[in-house]
Symmetry: C2
Subunit: 276 residues, 2 copies
């Protein structure tokens, strides 16, 4: 990743970019899968970029990690016990799950170097991988899900966008495999991109999941260091679960209001995915 | 505004900037109040910047204009008839009001050149100023509000941020003047900045308005070309109005879901303004 006068720029498109002023580039490595960079930024703390896109930074990682984890936990029929995370090599999702009382966690990350880099620069997040009950596997999550004999109460996809290595994580085949490996009453969740700048991601997730699951519900969060600041996630499940009114969890972003509000979508998003 | 290799960059802070690739700089003028620039961008249409900050672009102006206008219209005791807009020299707010059935509109803009520039480059928005019932005054809105003998059902502040010329629009004195010029059952609304990057704006608006009005309610929207993409507005009113459940208005962003969802705040925003 080339730095111009100590600015790291993420190109959102040919015509838009967000730039962070950095004190230092802490690491840059090309792995078998992707390029990983870590920057020490001025206002956003340490920042992890993969293939030039911000994956996480200390300033606002709480929003993404709380929202991908705490929302789906309300839509399982029973209290979830056993979780599978695909991606998530930084440990952020596993940490939130654990804090929320889910202790049997399998985390399948395809790229060992994501974990190694995060162990070095984000040890507060990766320390979760040393907890009893948390199992880290370096494997292709798509293949793992197809082949495993285990079943889970919650399956979570914490991936990059549906270009490159993560494309298969947005396919109907993958969603079918996920459904087959969910315990009854379980829930699936995936990040599904920015409705403004990556309409393909939420559309692929919504349509693919709708062909497999009975209930499919996109939800949103304000994440300032992601493209457009408007991010989406999508949960899918088969059980008829009552809409929860209150949450036992509290976060810096997540609360009772957000549990309801995050599902309330702007009209252009409804139009994009074809719901009323 | 200096362009580097045909990119217009808005500095959000010393350490973060968003850059738009531009085909051409259409206009740059220093007025008595501020610098006004218009760029023809690649993906975002024509873009109006004031003092280097994006005020509006064709791509997403609908979000800001719908949200500042349509939300408060649900919190007047009677159907509002008479509106005052302070700022709003681009005509976007007046246009939304008119579309929503409010036909007696006074729009007080301090800088005649904002109007002139917008007449030239955004004629679809400024055409509203030629409609019967819509009165455009080139005046200081703070002074106008203090001195006018008219009263309004809705008073709207469509301003820049609380630095420079707009600072007085976030003062308790101004909010008192606004309350005095509201008809009974009327509503006040102001844009109140990004809770992530301009916490001062929403805090000033919330605290100032709370010392004057009985009900003060911040609400939010996803606006990708504004800093962080997370924008806030704040309404204030004295009447006890029932929370509306459905809206007669529809927009590209605004709908029944957003009418409820926009008031549901992330925890860090509640903590910032001190509400539970």
């Amino acid at each position: 990743m080339r730095l111009i006068e100590n600015w790291f720029s993420e190109r959102y498109s040919d015509n838009l970019q967000l730039s962070f002023r950095v004190k230092d580039q802490l690491m840059s490595v090309k792995t078998d899968y992707q390029r990983i960079d870590v920057f020490d930024t001025y206002d956003y703390g340490k920042l992890l970029a993969i293939d030039g896109t911000v994956q996480m930074c200390e300033y606002d990682e709480f929003v993404y990690h709380e929202m991908i984890t705490l929302v789906p936990l309300h839509f399982t029929r029973e209290q979830p016990k056993k979780a599978l995370i695909i991606g998530g090599g930084d440990g952020g999702v596993a940490g939130q799950l654990n804090k929320a009382g889910v202790n049997d966690i399998t985390n399948v990350e395809i790229d060992s170097q994501v974990v190694q880099v995060c162990e070095r620069f984000f040890p507060g997040l990766t320390s979760i991988f040393r907890k009893p009950g948390v199992k880290l596997l370096i494997k292709d999550g798509i293949k793992y899900l197809r082949e495993t004999r285990e079943k889970f109460d919650i399956i979570m996809v914490d991936s990059t966008d549906p270009e490159g290595p993560a494309e298969g994580l947005f396919s109907k085949k993958f969603y079918e495999d996920a459904r087959n490996k969910l315990n009854e009453g379980g829930v699936f969740v995936t990040q599904s991109g920015s409705p403004y700048y990556q309409p393909k991601a939420i559309k692929m997730a919504f349509e693919g999941l709708s062909s497999v699951f009975k209930h499919v519900r996109p939800y949103t969060a304000f994440i300032p260091t992601y493209p457009s600041g408007f991010w989406s996630f999508t949960i899918a499940y088969d059980s008829d679960v009552d809409e929860p009114e209150t949450t036992p969890f509290s976060g810096k972003y997540f609360n009772n209001d957000i549990l309801r509000g995050c599902f309330l979508l702007p009209q252009f998003v409804k139009d994009l995915i074809g719901v009323t």
